[in-house]
């Protein structure tokens, strides 16, 4: 197929940029997550401790942001890898739809877990 310049809008530059930004935010969140959850086994593995933390609405907001950013960064990453290969367009559409469904489905489940408290 002959290359035709379609402008920079569809070049993927925005997803490249958002992948970097979400990655930078995740670095900070994941450091806090590991200290909070794994510094001793009680902290991440006891319902009571989770319940205590979840009483703070700002903590819940942070957790929702974490779920959304982690899913976005991960699934966008899978799409980036997929796009390095050449596949038929029906498969592109199928994989893209599957990633959207996974993102929305697991995002909803993760947010439901958090808002349950």
């Amino acid at each position: 197929m002959e290359y035709k310049y379609m402008g920079s809008r569809g070049s993927g530059s925005m997803s490249w940029f958002l992948q970097r930004i979400s990655g930078i935010v995740l670095v900070f969140v994941i450091v806090g997550h590991f200290i909070l959850m794994h510094y001793n086994p009680e902290m991440g593995h006891s319902f009571d401790r989770v319940y205590e933390r979840m009483q703070n609405p700002y903590y819940q907001m942070l957790q929702i942001a974490f779920v959304v950013l982690a899913l976005y960064h991960g699934l966008q990453g899978v799409w980036n890898i997929y796009r390095d290969f050449k596949f038929p367009s029906w498969l592109n559409l199928t994989v893209f739809s599957l990633l959207i469904v996974l993102g929305v489905g697991f995002g909803a489940l993760g947010i439901a877990n958090i808002l349950h408290f």
Binding site: R20, L26, L71, L75
Partner: protein, 142 residues
């Protein structure tokens, strides 16, 4: 027009391609990224037991506190720390002048990563002291 790629040739090209440190960093970043994405999905699914109440959640968590699961979590932490530190390296390369010293950045990332990985292993297996300085700091903020 889509043309089927000769997969066999593609695989051998990739395997034979001379890989320098940057290629390994790139490849490992992708492998760890794929692993972590799958893990995020599994993790969210596991935490759904929070909605079933304390008994269900605590019972599930008891399983993950068995030594071989703690070991698995430690290996998972290895993927996280590599992906995090190499991710910082990528940001420095893309947004700063890291392309000039990307090899040094990788060596630094691996060195820091190994130290943090071993330290985390010590904490996960032996560091269950409620009274050391970081535990007290964490309880203060949480």
């Amino acid at each position: 027009m889509y043309q089927k790629s000769p997969t066999k040739e593609w695989t051998s090209n990739v395997v034979r391609y001379k890989k320098f440190s940057g290629s390994w960093a790139w490849l490992l970043h992708r492998i760890t990224g794929l692993g972590l994405t799958v893990y995020v999905l599994v993790h969210i699914n596991t935490l759904a037991s929070l909605q079933e109440g304390p008994e269900a959640f605590n019972a599930k968590m008891q399983v993950f506190m068995q030594p071989h699961w703690v070991f698995a979590a430690w290996i998972l932490f290895g993927l996280v720390i590599y992906h995090t530190l190499n991710g910082i390296r990528i940001v420095i390369i893309d947004f700063g002048k890291g392309a000039k010293y990307h090899k040094q950045l990788l060596y630094g990332a691996v060195a820091i990563g190994l130290i943090v990985f071993l330290w985390m292993g010590y904490i996960m297996f032996f560091g269950h002291d409620e009274h050391d300085f970081l535990s007290r700091a964490v309880s203060f903020f949480s």
